[in-house]
């Protein structure tokens, strides 16, 4: 027979166990939900279909058809001349650089901001300023409802050769996703801060959504490469876009260095 004091102790113990079991149940439930979501989405293995819709707005049937035709024409062509011809913003000297780094990013993604602040300046200094590589920016605005507008706005800035100023300005002032920091009004305010940018031209470009289909094509290209995360990178030979190496995530400079140095050696060896 247990004494009353021991009974009380056992009761308290049982109560504690009940509480912790309850918390465990909630935790396990959440984890199982996430595992289920992961398994569900891994069954849809076609990256193009999964990414082809654009959640920020509804694309019409004609737009979809047009997009598919465009995609088929330039599908997987990530050679530097083709990327430049498409109108993608780039940094570096395309006439000398044997390597091209294609960056797929979203202005609202905090990991992209991390890459821009921590890694991109070193890449710029080491490979772009020395003429060894060119950095091309591609839009993958899949982090929030406002992302598409920021991409279109950046492309409009690119029309006047101010893409990289706009790019730096947005990442420097990045706020939580969809908090309104890249609302249409705020994007105009950001644009107004860039010296030398003709606001009339910019406003007309932005209001007409001139680069909506351009951004969609970037998203389709990202899908065809199997990119879902931002930032994602593909590093290729500039000339023909061959020998692609993929980096997913906000990698540090060491990761880029390992791949770029290897590629530079390969290019050097092949030219001998």
């Amino acid at each position: 027979m247990l004494k009353p004091q021991q009974n009380q102790e056992q009761g308290k113990l049982k109560q504690t166990i009940d509480i912790t079991s309850g918390i465990s149940f909630v935790g396990i439930f959440f984890c199982l939900t996430i595992i289920a979501i992961t398994l569900m989405s891994s069954s849809f293995n076609s990256p193009i279909v999964k990414n082809n819709y654009y959640y920020a707005y509804a694309a019409t049937a004609e737009e979809k058809q047009q997009r598919e035709t465009n995609n088929n024409n330039n599908k997987n062509n990530i050679s530097l001349p083709n990327l430049i011809q498409q109108g993608s913003p780039y940094l570096g000297d395309p006439s000398t650089a044997p390597i091209t780094i294609v960056d797929f990013s979203d202005f609202q993604c905090y990991l992209c901001a991390r890459y821009v602040k921590a890694t991109e300046p070193i890449i710029n200094q080491t490979y772009i300023q020395t003429g060894k590589a060119v950095l091309v920016f591609k839009h993958l605005p899949n982090r929030g409802f406002d992302s598409i507008n920021s991409s279109i706005a950046a492309q409009c800035a690119n029309d006047q050769g101010k893409f990289w100023d706009f790019h730096q300005l947005l990442y420097k002032n990045q706020k939580p996703i969809d908090s309104g920091w890249v609302s249409k009004e705020n994007l105009k305010k950001f644009a107004a801060k860039i010296s030398g940018l003709d606001m009339n031209k910019y406003n007309s470009c932005f209001e007409s959504q001139k680069y909506k289909s351009f951004v969609e094509e970037d998203v389709a290209l990202a899908s065809s490469l199997g990119f879902q995360d931002t930032p994602s990178f593909v590093i290729v030979n500039s000339k023909d876009g061959s020998n692609p190496e993929i980096l997913k995530g906000a990698h540090p400079f060491a990761s880029f260095k390992a791949i770029i140095d290897k590629k530079l050696r390969e290019v050097e060896d092949s030219s001998k």
């Binding site: 909630v26 569900m40 969809d178």
Partner: protein, 187 residues
């Protein structure tokens, strides 16, 4: 002549003092090398998982760890979570091993599930994308919520882990007392 305290003696005294400052149930569990090793292994495992998801640790194309400025706070919080998980799991293992009949096995996961969720899903952009692609608009809202409140969620998960650790500590203490009383009665 005044007695002098040599450095090794001082160190060992300091270590034993630190050890005796710890609550007795923790002392009991971690007096065994087995549980220290278990805690260390679990802490290391969770440290790797958290930092891979947080994109601070990479295994390809080179093994590299880096700590950019924006990740310092979350890195500290995930380290605390990893250590707490190591302590918690090994103490739960001790309880299951020693007080089999009194402890529900599900309590092993106390707080752990929520902590894993808040520390991995939030920082893992792929899971964020999966949420978006599976649930579209609702997915964006959930993903954004997890991204925006990741620090707060991590603090919450640490609070849950601390509560779980406290309850494990209480159970170990009470389990030991009951076992001691039972032994006394049987003799």
């Amino acid at each position: 002549m005044r007695p002098t305290l040599s450095l090794p003696t001082f160190k060992s005294k300091l270590l034993s003092l630190l050890f005796y400052i710890l609550p007795s149930p923790i002392r009991i569990v971690f007096s065994s090398v087995l549980y220290i090793s278990l805690a260390a292994a679990i802490t290391a495992g969770f440290w790797i998982i958290f930092n891979v998801f947080e994109q601070l640790l990479f295994f390809w194309p080179v093994w590299v760890f880096y700590l950019p400025e924006d990740a310092i706070i979350s890195f500290i919080l995930t380290n605390v979570s990893a250590v707490l998980m190591g302590l918690l799991v090994s103490m739960n293992v001790y309880i299951i091993k020693h007080f089999k009949l009194q402890i529900s096995k599900s309590s092993l996961f106390s707080g752990t599930g929520l902590s894993i969720l808040s520390s991995t899903c939030i920082s893992c952009s792929s899971v964020g994308f999966l949420l978006i692609s599976t649930f579209e608009g609702l997915g964006i809202v959930v993903s954004n919520f997890l991204s925006i409140y990741q620090i707060q969620l991590r603090i919450l998960s640490i609070a849950i882990l601390l509560f779980a650790l406290y309850s494990v500590h209480a159970r170990t203490k009470k389990g030991c007392m009951i076992e001691y009383n039972n032994k006394r009665r049987s003799t």
